[in-house]
Amino acid sequence: MSAQPLTPQTPAGRSPGGEPLMQVRNLVKHFPITRGIVIQRKVGAVQAVDGVSFDVNRGETLGIVGETGCGKSTTARVMMRLLEATSGEVLFEGQDITHLKGARLKAIRRDMQMIFQDPYSSLNPRKTVGSIIGQPFAIHGLEKGKGERKRAVQELMETVGLNPEHYNRYPHEFSGGQRQRIGVARALALKPKLLIADEPVSALDVSIQAQVLNLLRDMQRQLGLTLVFIAHDLSVVRHMCDRVAVMYLGRIVEIGPGEALYDFPRHPYTGALLSAVPVADPSARKDERTLLSGDVPSPANPPSACRFHTRCPKAQELCSVEDPPLEDKGTGTRAACHFPLSREEVAEIGVRSSR
């Protein structure tokens, strides 16, 4: 599996990738389902992430999209070592961090930080903004005296567009968008190499979303960050990301450069997602759209072989017998599908990002 180079039309200011910062190999995370109170027998497992492999290249933004329960947040948490992998490996700068412990794990943690979805529950309400943003310095023993720490925090506040004079205020005195800026400042405090943002704008109002998205883009350009951007909003992901991975029931079903994936999705699930996005343009309104029927099956008991075959309009017998590999389909993306979409089918289902 090789890292895919970015397409040439990528705007300047993003370093062309090629060298992976993080490599994820056959990552599996199962949560056991147990029965019994004292003696807990394992009766099954929620297969949240089931054999996921991808690279995150230095300086790029990788988007992970998918619906509730597809395993995108679990993947991020295992990458950050907030959850232990069931099997598989996560390599950071070539080093396997899956089983690191103690001081060596702490050292790695400086280089990867996370921004959470909910700006209300991810900030301690009893602490001032100054101490929330300054906490990483204390944890990693980088305190250089009170005055210097305050200066460093205020500099960060200014970078993310907060008023440095609000150093002594509490989180409840800030609006949702400003709180998310506090989260960004905290994540940037230690100058990480990798930033994982898990649904960073989905709790925010429309007009505020753009403020935070622009901030993340600016920070990435200024600091040369590598960003993993997790979201369910396909328009936002398209705007933010160089490469995009689409997940369904714990697997990656398609991955590739954003331009290729949005223009010519090959996996029927990617096509269905793009077709379902409502577009803010009444003249593009369609009378009938292709709808996926039914709901996402339970990850505790996923369908055999291709997990999408129960809802797939193109499914045939083979799909329930043989698991399709994630392979290059010759149009820029890699897709896990026996019968990938053709140009005509993409036009037919009304993928509105397609030319």
């Binding site: 705007p11 619906e67 509730t68 970078t159 993310v160 567009g161 907060l162 008023n163 609000h166 609006s175 968008g177 400003q178 800026r181 109002d205 429309v206 007009s207 505020i208 979303q209 753009a210 403020q211 998205l213 622009n214 901030l215 600016d218 369910h232 909003d233 396909l234 328009s235 936002v236 398209r238 705007h239 954003g258 331009e259 949005y262 269905a272 997602l273 793009l274 077709s275 379902a276 996005v277 409502p278 577009v279 803010a280 343009d281 009444p282 003249s283 593009a284 309104r285 759209r289 709808l291 996926l292 029927s293 039914g294 709901d295 996402v296 509105r352 990002s353």
Partner: protein, 363 residues
């Protein structure tokens, strides 16, 4: 009844909540109409008053000590003046509502069927067996597979999309003339959202009901609505047909909304232009035009004069509450549409810089 009379006509509706900190002006003099079989989309951010205005239509803000004035005419009757008993006959019968969160709107202790049967029997004289048949029929209508078995299940056994379908089934139980849907798909995934929107469109075609859909998602209104009202700080700041609102919006707040969302089909290099600042407090609202502290085109007298909704030349039904001259607005939008930033557009059009303080905390 007069055939030209709209199904619902809201006139100068005010809703105020007295609190310890002061009076919250949640809805501040809004008027709109919904004709039979049509769809009105109300767009706005949190705290813009869009939910309070529709709750008031159903009399659901009465118990909260709200001061309500104005008229809500529904089929010739003023719902604001109606007594609680009479209103109960309208609510859930002629007008039904679907809420945002389907899990907290269904009672977890009772079977879905029992809740549907109750909704039916409150308004119709029907025995239990008949009502149960009707409940099964309704679940089938909204596309729940195997409805005769599902009717015996509890809400936790339903997925998010199915719960929202069950809520819609309950809303449709008495074939309402008007369905108010408050963020009906916000808690749902995009493929399920598409299913629910398609379901609402199909039911509207089949049953001929009018829909008021309240949302913050411009994509959803563009798909669903015939007419759109944009709300800001308790007021309607712009109202037009869906086509006009998206092709030639007149209010700087509407421009701000349109420029701050990434387009699925747009160019990736186009920068998002956020609206600076945050929505105002509804207790201490800004003077003059409520939007002026966040407006990149505000002029000194905009902090004094309170703009009224005025029709736009050529399209009297397209109204905007903005103090800028119509031709200035059109030139500004032409610039913005071509990808110019607000400051550039303002310079090209020759508008002086806003002398007002820009809200803090923005890079």
């Amino acid at each position: 009844m007069n055939a030209a009379e709209p199904l619902l006509r809201v006139e100068d509706l005010h809703v105020e909540f007295p609190t310890e900190d002061g009076v919250v002006h949640a809805v501040d003099g809004i008027s709109y109409e919904v004709a039979r079989g049509r769809t009105l989309g109300i767009v706005g951010e949190s705290g813009s008053g869009k939910t309070v205005s529709s709750l008031t239509t159903l009399g659901l803000t009465r118990t909260q000590g709200a001061h309500i004035s104005g008229r809500i005419m529904f089929e010739g009757r003023d719902l604001v003046a109606l007594g609680e008993d009479e209103l109960r006959g309208v609510r859930g019968n002629d007008i039904a509502m679907v809420f945002q969160d389907p899990l907290s709107s269904l009672h977890p202790f009772f079977k879905v069927g029992a809740q549907l049967i109750e909704a039916i029997r409150v308004h119709q004289d029907m025995n239990k067996a008949k009502a149960r048949e009707r409940a099964v029929e309704l679940l089938g209508l909204v596309g729940i597979p195997d409805p005769s078995r599902r009717v015996e299940e509890f809400p936790h056994e339903f997925s998010g999309g199915m719960r929202q379908r069950a809520m819609i089934a309950m809303a449709l139980a008495n074939e309402p003339k008007l369905l108010i849907a408050d963020e009906p798909t916000t808690a749902l995934d995009v493929t399920v959202q598409a299913q629910i929107l398609a379901l609402m469109e199909r039911l509207q075609r089949e049953l001929g009901m009018a829909i008021v859909i309240i949302t913050h998602d411009l994509g959803v209104v563009a798909e669903m609505a015939d007419d759109i009202a944009v709300m800001y700080a308790g007021r309607i700041v712009e109202t037009a047909s869906a086509e006009l609102l998206f092709s030639s919006p007149e209010h700087p707040y509407t421009w701000g909304l349109l420029k701050s969302i990434p387009m699925l089909a747009g160019s990736r290099d186009e920068e998002l232009v956020p609206i600076p600042g945050t929505p105002p407090s509804l207790i201490n609202r800004p003077s003059g035009c409520h939007f002026h502290p966040r407006c990149p085109y505000a002029q000194p007298d905009h902090a004094r004069i309170d703009p009224q909704l005025r029709g736009v030349p050529d399209h009297p039904a397209h109204q905007a509450a903005c103090l800028l001259e119509v031709d200035v607005r059109r030139r500004l939008w032409a610039e913005l549409r071509a990808g110019r930033l607000p400051e550039q557009a303002r310079e090209t059009v020759g508008l002086p810089e806003p002398v007002l303080e820009q809200p803090e905390a923005h890079a």
